[in-house]
Symmetry: C2
Subunit: 217 residues, 2 copies
DNA sequence: TAATTTCTGTTGTTTTTACAACAAAAGAGG
DNA sequence: CCTCTTTTGTTGTAAAAACAACAGAAATTA
């Protein structure tokens, strides 16, 4: 349990909650730990939207599949990050995505319904306002993804994604968290076409890359 | 002022705020009314993200332009709907989109910063939790847009959009709120190509339409 | 109502992508 | 080290989209 607290200290939903109130907050949220093997489902599309997950270790992918089976990685959730909170907060019945463990992962499951039923409670108040900030930021992330997807050509999508990465890590050289297939899924383009386009961009002197290490020129 | 209250009654950010507290809430938010002519800017990209708008009448478009000038209508905001709240709640400095009046519009401008500085206030509490639900739902909307944009072909994008409309209005026959150019911008495809595709889909018996009235077959 | 402007549909050409099939490279396990 | 598997890059072909240019329809205004 001590290890959990170590992770929670750095999780923004618990910002401004004093360490000695953390246990209360977890009780309030009926928190419990669960383990998932790489590739196994955390939630399947259609599950009730009551529960929210916090990644204690490992990596979680939020996946949407269309009727042709094109996978779309909506988001990658890493240690200390939340998932499912949007569905819980929006008050919908079933989640419209699947959640899979991308690595062996430990997840803290929490019940958010309880949070909305305790007005004027200080801890609840803080959780609520932290949550608002988190959800708002997630919305901005989705906006970024829309920025990428609204580009017409594969090259523009790649450039939009890479520019985004540069901004995020502050350097023109960086390591992307996807392999080629995952990147293609994220950008919603064909892997082989993307690979070809990456090759052209390298020859053309726009970018350089080796495996997952990219550099803008 | 009475007319404003009439609109606010049905606005979900003021849900569960008793009518006699509404004035207090508006004071708290430093609300003031502003008028915008069709086509004129409400906020330009780069403006500070302190203010939030509520459409009292008319119609507002949230616009993002890429460096080639392809317009992308991120959202259409109608009477009784909020805009800019995500940027204010996320705590960023400048807004990354432009906001234009799509019609002559009345807007209620509010300062959200004040809301985060009044903990344990009942009205604030309610506003906060309403806001959370709103932002979460907006996130879901963006997810829907991503669902559309992640489709590879124009036809699939059109079908995804139309299916979405059917779900939203509960009938296979409906009127879309865009003209052809706006729809193309929303779907991030070429207008003429989309028009051609619509024609093919009609001839093929997939859909029927006349002007803005569509019907799925 | 006529003139003008805006919107929509059509068509041909060029560019880009999807698709498929395969080759090369990199990794994993024995 | 070799074999097997996975990942990545390459190429040719067919399909789709972007683009451009224009014609007809609809809406607006004088």
């Amino acid at each position: 349990m001590k290890k959990i607290f170590e992770v929670l200290k750095n999780v923004s939903i618990f910002d401004n909650i004093p360490p000695d109130s953390l246990g209360d907050a977890l009780d309030l949220l009926k928190a419990r730990k669960a383990l998932y093997k790489k590739g196994s489902p955390v939630f399947l599309e259609g599950s009730p939207a009551d529960f929210v997950g916090l990644v204690l270790s490992g990596k979680i992918h939020i996946i949407k599949e269309d009727y042709y089976g094109n996978r779309n990685i909506v988001a990658e959730v890493c240690q200390g990050e939340l998932f499912g909170e949007v569905f819980a907060c929006a008050g919908i019945a079933a989640i419209p995505v699947s959640v899979l463990a991308a690595d062996d992962s430990e997840v803290l499951l929490m019940d958010f319904k309880s949070m909305f039923m305790q007005p004027a409670d200080k801890t609840c108040d803080t959780l609520l306002s932290n949550l608002l900030k988190i959800v708002a930021n997630k919305t901005l992330q989705l906006n970024q993804k829309i920025d990428i997807l609204s580009k017409r050509t594969t090259r523009e999508k790649i450039l939009a994604y890479l520019s985004m990465q540069i901004k995020a890590c502050g350097s023109p050289e960086f390591i992307i968290p996807f392999n080629r297939q995952e990147l293609a899924d994220f950008l919603c383009v064909e892997r082989s076409a993307m690979s070809a386009e990456l090759g052209r961009m390298k020859r053309y002197g726009l970018i350089d890359f080796k495996k997952n290490k990219f550099r803008m020129l």
